[in-house]
């Protein structure tokens, strides 16, 4: 990846350019020290003067109103400008000064809108940080820097808009908005910190300072990366909106860096110091305000994506190169407009340009399916088996089929479309899951075909969700969502179950990244320094003891610190190390074959395969799959193979039950689904068994309730209760039981006869 830098022939500003800002559309506004505000059209490269500041007033910082806040798009047509006379101004798109507010003693150095657009933060030369309402009313003075008069050079909002990050001298300070909360403060650099930025996508902080270094921090202030000292002080840093990379500006220097800190490319344009950097909303272009009056534009090119045998590279802004490494063929795809996003997978390449969406099938590169896009700023494309999802940071989500048909545009109330990214969206052919943008503990589940939410309220988890992923195969009703939360615990939930939270199961802790397999429902993850594959994660709903057995792992030491799983295709899993190199690891091909047999219900083949491979994990997954399919013979063999004697015994007991409902109920019971088992029995009219089930589980009240309700076997329940109390030497403490035992006499012989009769009846059914 690198920058393609373009810079005008002669500077358009007479003074240095102190700030730049992108509009919702593809226009850039720049403010120069001579007091003029220019608008740049990136398509044509033309500039137009918007307005002029009064004499003696110099701009210091500007910020456009966030693009989409609850659909109030008209409000986004204004920006705020901080000036050296201590004021900030709300300025409309056509240059009209709507409002000017006295804010600080001395200059207003930095100014930022919160992500939700509700408030505004300013930092001044007087060392104060102030929060303002949207209309410019002072809400609070957040920070009074200890050494008064130390200017605050940079300020940024936290991802949830609940915290403020600012720099004071060499210190970096995170201050929560609530007044009682304590700030986090640490020494960041050996020189004055010039610029800070906090990404809302990956929650990382980048800082640049006069000690000529830039550093990357996590939100707890731990140092993740420190650069070599440069030749000049770092003047500006800026995260790309997708959180994948950031740009660094200094004297005659522009760098593109990966989110983990290392540098993709270095450019030495003749610009003077680059005082401010701003990314376009689609993360493809960065603009910089330069010391010599130029405005520099740098487009990100040379991104590469890989899928199976295909490699797609963005050669230039409008040219894609598709390489097929098996046939060694190359195809060049040219586009009318700038390529914004591309995504490859499921036998399709989906490309969005600044106006269109093109769908290529991997078998034919000549005739794409083309349709016009509603939105202009695609922030991500997610592919699923039969459909794909385009995330637009202004327009929201749209789901299309590969035939180019719009399926739905799901949304929930209060959606913040600019916060949507690959970490908080999971999509499969029938279901879509979105993590709530305001409260990341909540997640919304959508049916794709209707585009409506399945539940009235979002589901809540106890912790914030970090990543979500849906499995792609199997029955719609059993769709599983795998997610990791803030504690790095991995959970599995059957998202379309009538009571999903009852199907929430923890698979393991210390999980940093996860990925489903492309053709089966295998799950891979990095867990506590080990690369782990669950052959059949749904085993957690069948027999929790099978879960650890159906899991294989290998040491992930070779993948370095904190790798991310990029793809899990066929028998390969590809991981991206934090230094950017891709490493792959092989996964046994047998589970895929096994799952194929199972999906075709060729149980004999499945058993033969397992016998051939002699692998405990494979047997365990077969046991789980067979039990799930109520295929008792296979389950018996599989359980026998992994030495689970008691389960084999129980299965053979189930096999001997002639009544189908009873058998199913026993299977449910085997999977520890007592509620389900009881339901099945009652539905099948087997009231005695249902009562007996509750008795055996010592759920006396429920047993009595059922007996009374169905007017049968009340005496049986009472008899067993008495026996139980006698055995344990206890006194009757339940009023209900004392009441009934007074009314009904207990006689063991009649009870025994009744039971035998019931079993006889059952056999007759």
């Amino acid at each position: 990846m690198k920058f393609k830098v373009s810079i005008g022939k002669k500077p358009q500003h007479d003074g240095m350019v102190s700030c730049v800002g992108w509009t919702v559309g593809d226009d850039l506004f720049s403010c120069g020290d001579e007091g003029s505000i220019l608008k740049w059209n990136t398509k044509t490269g033309d500039t137009a003067a918007i307005t002029k500041l009064p004499d003696g007033v110099y701009p210091a910082d500007m910020a456009w109103f966030p693009s989409n806040v609850g659909g109030r798009q008209s409000a986004s047509e204004l920006f705020v400008l901080g000036t050296t006379d201590g004021k900030f101004h709300l300025v409309s798109k056509n240059g009209r000064f709507e409002k000017s507010v006295e804010a600080h003693n001395g200059a207003v150095i930095a100014i930022k809108w919160s992500k939700n657009g509700n408030s505004l933060v300013t930092a001044g030369e007087d060392g104060q940080v102030k929060i303002w309402s949207r209309s410019g009313m002072l809400r609070s003075t957040l920070a009074q820097v200890v050494a008064l008069g130390t200017p605050v050079y940079s300020v940024a909002w936290g991802p949830d808009s609940e915290q403020i990050l600012y720099a004071c001298g060499k210190q970096i300070i995170i201050k929560p908005l609530s007044p009682s909360a304590k700030p986090t403060q640490w020494k960041g650099h050996d020189g004055l910190i010039m610029k800070l930025d906090w990404s809302s996508v990956n929650n990382l902080i980048v800082s640049g300072a006069e000690d000529r270094k830039y550093k990357v921090w996590d939100s707890y202030g731990r140092l993740l990366f420190a650069s070599h000292p440069h030749h000049y002080p770092i003047m500006s840093v800026s995260w790309s909106p997708n959180g994948q990379m950031f740009a660094v500006g200094a004297f005659n220097t522009l760098r593109l860096c990966d989110k983990s800190g290392w540098c993709y490319s270095l450019d030495k344009p003749n610009t003077g110091s680059i005082y401010s950097l701003d990314w376009s909303r689609d993360s493809t272009l960065v603009a910089g305000g330069c010391g010599n009056g130029h405005v520099i534009f740098a487009g990100v090119v040379n991104q590469t994506i890989e899928w199976k045998h295909l490699v797609v590279t963005l050669q230039e802004e409008k040219v894609l190169l598709v390489e097929d490494v098996v046939n060694n063929t190359k195809d060049q795809l040219e586009f009318r407009d700038r390529v914004v996003k591309m995504s490859l997978g499921w036998d399709h390449l989906v490309v969005t340009t600044s106006s269109q969406c093109l769908i290529y099938s991997t078998s034919n590169w000549n005739t794409p399916l083309i349709f016009d896009l509603k939105g202009l700023t695609t922030s991500a494309i997610l592919l699923a088996r039969k459909l794909f999802l385009i995330v637009d940071s202004v327009q929201g989500l749209s789901v299309y089929s590969y035939e180019g048909r719009l399926i739905c545009s799901p949304k929930y109330s209060g959606i913040r479309t600019d916060s949507l990214n690959v970490n908080n969206i999971a999509v499969s052919s029938d279901t879509l899951v979105l993590v709530d943008s305001r409260d990341s503990r909540a997640y919304h589940v959508f049916d794709i075909n209707t585009g409506r939410e399945l539940t009235d309220k979002p589901l809540y988890h106890s912790q914030e969700l970090l990543t979500v992923a849906l499995d792609q195969y199997g029955h719609t009703n059993e769709r599983c969502l795998g997610f990791t939360d803030k504690n790095n615990d991995l959970f599995l939930i059957q998202i379309r179950h009538s009571n999903p939270l009852s199907k929430l199961k923890k698979l393991g802790g210390m999980v940093t990244t996860l990925m489903w397999h492309d053709t089966t429902n295998m799950l891979s993850a990095l867990q506590d320094g080990r690369f782990t594959v669950w052959y059949y994660p749904r085993a957690v709903y069948i027999d929790t003891e099978l879960l650890p057995q159906s899991k294989v792992y290998k040491d992930a030491g070779e993948f370095g610190k904190n790798p991310q799983i990029v793809s899990f295709l066929g028998h390969h899993c590809t991981l991206r190390r934090s230094d950017g190199s891709l490493v792959s690891t092989a996964v046994s091909p047998y589970p895929t074959i096994l799952q194929n047999y199972v999906s075709k219900t060729s149980w004999d083949d499945a058993v033969r395969l397992c016998r051939f491979v002699k692998d405990g994990a494979l047997w365990a997954s077969l046991a789980a799959m067979a039990t799930a399919a109520k295929e008792l013979n296979t389950a018996e063999i599989a359980y026998a193979a992994i030495n689970e004697t008691e389960k084999v015994e129980y299965i053979s007991y189930i096999k001997d039950i002639s009544n189908k409902a009873a058998r199913n109920a026993e299977m449910s019971l085997f999977c520890k689904q007592t509620g389900e088992a009881e339901g099945t029995l009652l539905q099948g009219g087997l009231v005695y068994r249902a009562i007996r089930l509750n008795i055996d589980l010592f759920r006396w009240n429920r047993a009595l309730e059922l007996a009374v309700k169905h007017k049968t076997h009340v005496d049986t329940v009472l008899a067993f209760r008495q026996k139980y109390l006698q055995d344990f030497g206890l006194e009757e403490s339940d009023n209900l039981f004392t009441q009934y035992s007074k009314e009904i006499a207990v006689d063991w012989t009649t009870i025994q006869n009744k039971i035998n009769m019931e079993l006889e009846n059952e056999r007759g059914k």
Binding site: K2, N252, C263, Y264, L266, D579, L582, A586, P589, F612
Partner: protein, 128 residues
């Protein structure tokens, strides 16, 4: 010369107011003056030419001087340019090196995977 004899007659019998001697001397003076004027004129043209020459020379020198300064500055800036170019090239080398390192790691892992798969195939064939 007699006082009453106001007029004088010269050798060519022409009447003259001035006496002969004065007249010849005057004429001589006149001649000399003329000569002098001529010489001064000459001198002036020569000096003028010289001044022109000098002026030309000075502009020439000025130009050369500027040229020299320019060249020197160019040299200096060239050195700076070289420096920044060098920096960029060093940066580029660094990028390429890290990229190479990345590819090397990728190759290593792929080779490892290949070896694993070969083992797997061998095992598979042997088992059958």
């Amino acid at each position: 010369m007699d006082d009453d004899n106001i007029f004088d007659v010269d050798d060519l019998n022409k009447i003259r107011v001035l006496d002969n001697e004065t007249s010849t001397k005057t004429a001589q003076l006149k001649e000399e003056c003329k000569d002098f004027i001529d010489k001064i004129d000459d001198f002036q043209t020569i000096v003028g030419g010289f001044i022109d020459l000098m002026d030309n020379l000075s502009t020439e020198v000025e130009r050369e001087k500027l040229k020299a300064i320019g060249a020197r500055n160019l040299l200096k800036s060239m050195a700076k340019q070289r420096e920044s170019q060098q920096q960029q090239l060093v940066g580029l080398i660094h990028e390429k090196k890290t990229q190479l390192e990345r590819y090397r790691i990728q190759l290593q892992s792929l080779e490892k995977t290949e070896a694993e798969q070969r083992d797997f195939i061998d095992q598979f064939i042997l088992q059958k």
